[in-house]
Symmetry: C2
Subunit: 188 residues, 2 copies
């Protein structure tokens, strides 16, 4: 594969991730190509159909997130810290795109990768529980949904940087709310 081709492929994937997160849905293909500063023809050469594009996007994102998670788990001082790092990294790496494109995915080694991500998350959550840093009733599923929600755009016309900053702030707020020391958890 020629060097320029590889570079364009990367740009396309990154642009696709960004756009999916910005619009909170499937973006127009032309928009992806334009954002990547390549012609539409180039997009269709690399990814002849929706399937292949989104599949590549999903793997791209999941791989980065899994890597980051493993690192967080290895390095962090304790479970709570590992969890915090993982969540912030997941947002930065655009894990949220999965919620949007996952209905379109049916590639063979997709379930396996997905399982790997899930067991990693469970490991982190378990550790946080062991270290007494999470409420009893807080589950790995909770964490997953919080991450997904934090990745969704607010649709409020904010520039991307602000949007991202808010996502991180909300992650922190939720983490505080899921932390063992926090007191009441009533429902209205």
């Amino acid at each position: 594969m020629r060097a320029d081709a590889r570079r364009n492929r990367e740009r396309l994937l990154d642009s696709a991730v960004d756009l999916i997160l910005e619009v909170g849905g499937e973006p127009a293909r032309d928009a992806i190509a334009h954002r990547a500063e390549v012609g539409i023809g180039t997009l269709y050469r690399h990814f002849p159909d929706q399937q292949s594009l989104f599949h590549a996007v999903a793997l791209h994102v999941l791989d980065r997130t899994i890597g980051a998670g493993e690192l967080a788990l290895a390095d962090a001082a304790n479970g709570g810290e590992a969890l915090r790092r993982y969540m912030h990294l997941a947002v930065d790496h655009g894990l949220g795109v999965l919620s949007i494109i996952h209905p379109l995915l049916d590639h063979p080694h997709w379930p396996q990768q997905r399982a790997r991500a899930e067991s990693l998350l469970r490991a982190i959550v378990d550790l946080a529980h062991q270290d007494g840093m999470m409420k009893r009733d807080a589950t790995a599923q909770d964490i997953g949904f919080v991450i997904i929600r934090a990745c969704r755009p607010l649709a409020v016309g904010l520039p991307l940087a602000d949007e991202r900053a808010l996502a991180h702030r909300h992650i922190d707020i939720c983490l505080d709310g899921l932390t063992a020391s926090a007191s009441q958890s009533s429902s209205a």
Copy 2:
């Protein structure tokens, strides 16, 4: 105005709110009419253009939310409780639609209504602060953004009821995280 006409108008507004929340953006007009179980012609008779429809939706939602907020403020035992009630009611009444349609709004008595809602929220937050039930650095703006985020769809294919239940759960988590007793609020 004939009784059936009024009823259809209501149905259209409710359907519009639901759909905006479900898709997290401007829904197709046909979809709104279909959801309301009326013909498209009926939609266009009541709301000849996008402006008039979305303006009516915005007022509908804001009025309900303001009413609910005033009630919460009057009834609740303390600021923390008022805040909690307000947030849950805001989600139930679909306050989140405003974030999506507000760029389209330019009706005369819209800013005034908006100001009313904002001062109400500030009053509730101030009270919560006075009652020592909120962290110092938690602002009315934080609350607003948390509500908006909770109203956004997760894009995960959940049925509406589950989606709503999760929204409430996340409101509770965030409230716990913004509550004065919660300890650390570090950032990654």
